[in-house]
Amino acid sequence: MYDFAYHRPCSLKDALALLAESPEARPLAGGQTLLPVMKQRLAAPSALVDLSGVPELRGIDLSPQAVTIGALTTHAEIAESAEVTQAIPALSAMAAKIGDQQVRHRGTLGGSIANNDPAADYPAALLGLDAVVVTDRREIAAADFFIDILETALQPGELVVAVRFPIPRTAAYARMDQPASRFALVGVFVGVMQDGGVRVAVTGAGPCVFRQGEMETSLTHSFRPEALAGLDIAAEGLNSDLHGSPEYRAHLIGVLARRAVVACL
């Protein structure tokens, strides 16, 4: 990888100032995506602003309505958090399946959503729970945050500070592993909100996480796996690679949505 300037600021203010200073600077969280990409020279930032010393990005806060998780919280910390497991067990279970233990020890919630990999897991939880991304300057609804493949609503130099997840009545996530990459081939998150609304969010199948409206309508009518029978999931626009055709991914959406609904019941 090419060399770069390295900074480890001790406050959010200093981190933002360092990022504002040079447009080619990038924040570094767990490095589990950014460093591999830099090793392959697919990215060559002029400077890395290591966020690990920024206390404002840490912590898990549980209220009766929501659980708010700091951007620097690692996948392993979310998987093992008693607060998260109590409020949204589907979220800690999701974190426990990301990659492998070594990736989970370093990779963070903020880094994952800022990166918005088409097969990343957390985006499905954010969209499926109507979560809010809190940045240093504003709050962004998940629906407005994930824009396209590897693209989010974040402005240059803007940092994810935390994510606020409303506590649902129930929720579950089902994923089909892609064992070579250790990402999900397809993952489906089903959430039943406190007002009874059902949300179905799909990752890995398309260029960016998306909601499956027909399934949401059927499940709002009757929250049973049978309610999904007969729905024809369109393969058009879904990803195609050596691991699966668009038709196979469309099929998996149906299978995994049923599994998630069963796990909710």
């Binding site: 060399d3 490095g31 460093l35 591999p36 890395l48 290591d50 233990q101 070594q102």
Partner: protein, 155 residues
């Protein structure tokens, strides 16, 4: 630009100057001569490079040396006491948990992390805990047995 770096490696304090881009694995191997930590891939997937930072297993090829500034790092060289192998190393030897041995340092370091989380691990917990470690020789069966025996010896 060279950055001042200081960390504890296998109980010993080390101080050095490194480029920002120096990976922890390269620092350990090239600067400190600790070549037990291996590099098996370029994509953060094989686990040959696993070490512990502050007691947690990580891939040293996917951590900058500077990210470990001030940390306590343990490598495979830090496990044995003189000529006496660590119980997990001994278990790998006794149960044929290796053939060529290239993956073994990473396997042992990940195995210790499994035991930290599950002192009496099931086969499923072991296989899950070794997901980030590739072995191209053994077929994993003997590694799983070795980890089970090593965990028992450590209890």
């Amino acid at each position: 630009m060279a950055h001042a770096l200081s960390m504890i490696v296998n109980g010993r304090e080390v101080n050095a100057h490194v480029e920002a881009r120096t990976l922890l694995v390269d620092f350990l191997r090239d600067h400190l001569g600790l070549t037990g930590t291996h590099v098996g891939c370029d994509t953060s997937q094989c686990g040959a490079c696993v070490v512990q930072i502050n007691g947690l297993s990580v891939k040293a090829c996917t951590v900058l040396a500077m990210q470990a500034d001030g940390a306590d790092v343990t490598t495979i060289e830090g496990l044995a006491e003189g000529e006496t192998l660590h119980p997990m190393q001994q278990a790998f030897q006794d149960h044929h948990g290796l053939q060529c041995g290239f993956c073994t340092p990473g396997m042992v370091m990940s195995a210790l992390d499994i035991v930290r989380r599950h002192p009496d691990p099931s086969e499923a917990q072991i296989r899950d805990g070794l997901k980030g470690n590739f072995c191209r020789c053994t077929g994993y069966g003997s590694i799983v047995e070795a980890v089970q025996a090593g965990a028992k010896a450590m209890r």
